[in-house]
């Protein structure tokens, strides 16, 4: 756990660089996080990121790629195109929510 300055803002991050405080997120922070992992944000990216945050607020946990497909309406294939290689991890990183669990 530590602090980082992202888009001129002091935020709490974990050892992998994920934000740990939901409310420290804003679009400027997200844009810089996206740059860190070389994701070019389009309207489609933003819509998905905002859905992921809203879903996290409602469910208390990060949606898996399966849930992004069934509840969020974005097919897994498309998630891989938008966030190559590791969509679940990359979406969560940019959205300022924890890595999805699923892995226990």
């Amino acid at each position: 756990m530590g602090m980082a300055t992202i888009a001129g803002k002091d935020v709490h991050v974990n050892e992998e660089g994920f934000l740990t405080e939901f409310d420290e997120w804003d679009e400027d922070v997200a844009a810089e996080l996206a740059k860190n992992i070389e994701v070019e944000m389009t309207d489609e990216h933003w819509a998905l990121i905002k859905w992921l945050r809203a879903d996290y607020q409602e469910k208390g946990e990060t949606a898996t790629t399966r849930r992004v497909q069934t509840a969020g309406g974005v097919p897994t294939k498309r998630q891989f195109e938008l966030f190559p290689k590791k969509p679940a991890k990359k979406m969560a990183y940019i959205a300022g929510v924890p890595k999805p669990k699923g892995c226990v």
Partner: protein
């Protein structure tokens, strides 16, 4: 009379009724269990059947044998739960009313959920998560002459997350003993980044794959299987070719859970992870693999949870707060081949660590280290399962995880 209804007489459901029957006065409570299968399978044995270590008939017994007197076992398939009316409908139209409901319907492999996976099932594609699948794979391996063996996990979570690794280690040992190892190329394909879900164990287990000459293909989310060309295709368009694919299909909870509106995306019942009480209904619990708790789907988790559950249940039905929170404790022997095994011990908060696992009068067992004693622990476990665990007797193991003996130097 109050009615307790349990859906599922597998590991968790059987333990629950054996523990609850003596605690609920017979003059006040009936207990009924519904299951569609008369046979109880020792599921940890599925791992050993493909290699001829256990014969199929050694891992199956009639369910009725494990039902205590005073518990009615109803054979039937559940159509749906109607939680607002406190009743369960079976496929044959039978209606079962309840005051309290425990859902213990487990999780099952669903090859049909992945395009192409079912096309060649039993041919060049196999699985060992069912009795029939493990038996068919034994037949296949008996005569298989080598080639590219791919062991594959479709998506997490799966029942017994260490079983695919164990299968891989046992396959390496099996082919070595058959004098075939140089004709078999083994690849381990997983949607995870590494060999296992948790970092410290993942490193140990990943090194063990390396030393056995087993290639790891990580971050692989399968989109489809091309049964004709014999290859796995991922969403990011990677391909892995096989001559024999042993896959762990997508695991899902029972379909009636979805029909009853009680499940998440994978039909797991949404419950509080400490008490196993439904998030929405105050008289419905889900135990064992059927729930969505963020713990391994494994018999050991069901067992530790069932050490605490009866106490909580008794308090809950009296309107009292449940005071024995479950910590997600899991404890798994991992077979590594050639008569050795590993042991891991962990919970919601603490990942598997190296060190010692104390066991009064018998142990300690070594954690995350290959020993013969860990193998014998696993071998003995079959007897303990039938004779101690299922009948609900006490094992001398603490229900909650302990840090005693664990080394924390590997934690960053």
């Amino acid at each position: 009379m109050k009615r307790l209804l349990v859906l599922g007489a597998g590991t968790a459901g059987t333990m629950a009724v054996n523990k609850l029957r003596p605690l609920l006065p017979r003059d006040d409570w009936t207990i009924t269990v519904v299951d569609s299968d008369e046979a109880h399978y020792y599921q940890p044995g599925y791992l050993f059947v493909p290699f001829g270590i256990y014969r199929p008939e050694e891992i199956v017994k009639p369910k009725a044998r494990f039902m205590p007197s005073g518990v009615d076992l109803v054979l039937g398939e559940v159509d749906r739960v109607e939680p607002d009316d406190n009743r369960v409908l079976l496929m044959d139209g039978t209606e079962l009313r309840y005051d309290y409901l425990i859902i213990a319907s487990g999780t099952t492999p669903r090859p049909e959920e992945t395009p192409g996976m079912a096309d060649d099932l039993g041919g060049s594609v196999h699985e060992f998560y069912t009795f029939a699948g493990a038996t068919a794979l034994a037949e296949k391996l008996r005569t298989w002459e080598g080639g590219r063996l791919v062991v594959h996990i479709t998506e997490m979570p799966i029942k017994c997350p260490v079983a695919p690794l164990e299968f891989t280690f046992l396959a390496d040992a099996f082919f070595t003993e058959q004098g075939l190892r140089d004709k078999v190329e083994i690849t381990y394909v997983t949607p995870l980044e590494g060999a296992f879900t948790k970092p410290v164990a993942s490193k140990y287990l990943g090194d063990m794959l390396d030393t056995r000459g087993i290639r790891l293909e990580g971050d692989f989310m399968v989109e489809s299987i091309d049964a004709e060309a014999r290859k796995l295709v991922s969403f990011d368009e990677r391909e892995v070719a096989y001559d024999l694919l042993v896959t762990i299909p997508l695991n899902m909870g029972a379909d009636f859970v979805a029909r009853s509106g009680l499940g998440d995306d994978l039909n797991y019942v949404e419950v509080d992870k400490e008490t196993l009480l439904s998030d929405r209904y105050d008289n419905i619990f889900a135990i064992g693999d059927a729930s969505n708790i963020p713990a391994s789907k494994a018999g050991s988790v069901a067992h530790f949870a069932m050490d605490l559950f009866p106490h909580n249940f008794l308090r809950h039905i009296q309107g009292l707060k449940m005071t024995e929170p479950f910590d997600g404790h899991a404890n798994c022997f991992i077979e590594t081949g050639h008569g050795k095994g590993l042991l891991i011990d962990f919970n919601y908060e603490t990942e598997p660590l190296p060190g010692k696992y104390p066991l009064p009068g018998f142990g300690p067992f070594s954690l995350l280290k290959e020993t013969e004693m860990n193998h014998w622990g696993k071998v003995m476990f079959r007897w303990m399962y039938w004779n101690i665990l299922l009948p609900g007797k006490e094992l001398p193991l603490p229900a909650l995880m302990s840090m005693a003996g664990k080394e924390t130097a590997d934690l960053s």
